[in-house]
Symmetry: C2
Subunit: 337 residues, 2 copies
């Protein structure tokens, strides 16, 4: 991803919400990365403490946290997101330190932000904040989260192209007044699959550090690119129903599920763990159901015969961000070099 | 629940995985509760540190944790679950301290344990552990988790009656050899709804401490019994699509969803928060979708008009156990007396 960004003259500002780990952050430093994205003030504080000095909080400012944001802006170069004139007004009144902001644009996902055609509202935000000269307009930021609902590469690229086109129009409209404004986009599926970054200045993919089953099913990565597994102890085996019980449930993996290539609802793909890597068993066992701590793996009888109580099995998660968030909290994080 | 247990001559051994809180645990002490259930060794340690001296770990023993279990059995009266002769053999060999065990029975849920009719396997476990005189057979334990998939009270009670009947037969078969053996059951839906505890010695409901939307939809509680809400800041309002953006997502609520009375997929019911309670707005807004930190509430235009950025809205969770687990980790737990 770092090479791709370089090749296209883009700033890569990776989203660190996927790993939330200072150690993994160091790998990015090795690639020359100096600017990062996070999704909460708490996460921004964590990475600021770990030496990161240029941070975008890619979540529309929660005005209840404005004092914390101002304190943090004293320590690092901070970019925040604004999507409403009301929040803009409060920022204009309260912020007394150098801070930059993006206007959060909704380019089709329908989650957060202003639609790019609503230039009246965008103009109003810029004018409101302009009262406060310490707060600088940095540009437009969007997340094409609807690519996560795509079923194949073509669909991802169609969403990307349509969303980008709307953003480029917006950018061009404001470029004469703000010649330095930047356009920041870049979810993992489209950043991985596209080669058309015309008009884009910055990308913020995050999930690509591990990828996961969801990315694989979307077509955003090959299977061998999945780089995170949850090691789960086998607690019981049930030959009579071709199932294995593991200690591994919703408090470790989250309840995110996917539909696999055989139309099974799955909470994870099972892999055999070796010392430094893993393999998919030929019969492709999968995590069929989970509750708080229990996981039930559906298996072929041949695979079941090879497993005994106390073995460790790996689970490739459906959504690595949520699994990493849960395991970080549980202190269960092990990095294989 | 404490009164109901007393009335029926049952031991109430509440499941503390729902709240995982020493403070909430104190409320149970006030009701005379001295015995508790947890779902992990880690949780058993936490409550042992907080003065609980009689703990059942209601998860089939993970043999990789046997040393921890033995250490803990030095400090408190500990009951573990066994469901396989292999694990029984290891326990017989490794345990050198007074410990009790239940045999985990699968009475129809199909998750963990031995079916009650497989008395040969049950006998084998008892004989295996019997080699070690410090490990005592306490009885049979089952969790009717399939009641969580019921759609109404009648279905819950049908599952309960059928499952209990199978267990009573099992109990009676072993009662002459083990006159002190007990039968421990008691998921929240059936423990709340039934009044037939004939043959049952102990119940272990946990979720009832808060209940949640899922219990409400099953018919296990009335709406006013739901006793936990996540307070979420309003970050933006979107009149053009009748939606509100809150700071509240999968890392706070989990991705558990339910289908509400209007056939909407919902991640939570929205309530207005007052100082010491909450109310459901007349137009019944609900949490329509969530991602890692974002939540989107679907609202009626009238409700939207009453909300401004920075307000707090309450979310009644679909599954309170998972929400409490996440918020405990985030340190975001506030108890209203």
């Amino acid at each position: 991803m770092a090479n791709k960004a370089k090749q296209h003259g883009l700033v890569l500002r990776p989203h660190f919400k996927t790993h939330q780990s200072a150690v993994v952050g160091e790998w990015f430093k090795d690639e020359g990365i100096k600017q990062i994205t996070v999704s909460s003030v708490q996460m921004a504080k964590y990475f600021a403490q770990n030496g990161w000095e240029d941070i975008t909080i890619a979540f529309p400012l929660n005005i209840r946290e404005i004092d914390d944001v101002v304190r943090l802006a004293n320590q690092v170069k901070l970019n925040i997101l604004i999507s409403s004139p009301e929040t803009a007004q409060l920022v204009a009144e309260k912020v007394n330190i150098s801070l930059s902001y993006f206007i959060k644009i909704d380019a089709g996902y329908g989650r957060a932000g202003i639609v790019p055609e609503n230039t009246e509202k965008i103009q109003r935000i810029i004018e409101t904040i302009n009262q406060n000269k310490s707060v600088a307009f940095k540009g437009f930021l969007a997340h094409f989260g609807n690519t996560y609902h795509a079923h194949n590469k073509e669909e991802v690229l169609r969403i990307y192209d349509e969303s980008k086109e709307r953003l480029i129009k917006l950018k061009n409209r404001f470029l004469s007044d703000f010649p330095n404004l930047i356009l920041s986009i870049g979810d993992t599926p489209s950043a991985t699959l596209t080669n058309d970054f015309q008009g884009v200045d910055e990308i913020r993919p995050g999930n690509f550090v591990y990828y996961d089953l969801m990315q694989y099913y979307i077509g955003a990565c090959t299977f061998d690119k999945i780089a995170v597994a949850l090691a789960c102890p086998v607690v019981d085996v049930y030959p009579e129903r071709n199932e294995i019980l593991i200690y591994g449930g919703a408090v470790h993996l989250s309840k995110e599920y996917s539909i696999d290539y055989q139309s099974n609802k799955t909470y994870g793909q099972i892999v055999s763990l070796n010392e430094n890597n893993w393999q998919v068993p030929e019969t492709k066992p999968y995590l069929k159901s989970i509750s708080q701590e229990h996981g039930i793996i559906s298996v072929h009888p041949d695979f079941l015969k090879s497993i005994k109580i106390g073995d460790l099995l790996g689970v490739l998660p459906v959504h690595s961000c949520l699994t990493a968030d849960l395991m970080r909290q549980n202190g269960g994080f092990l990095i294989l070099e």
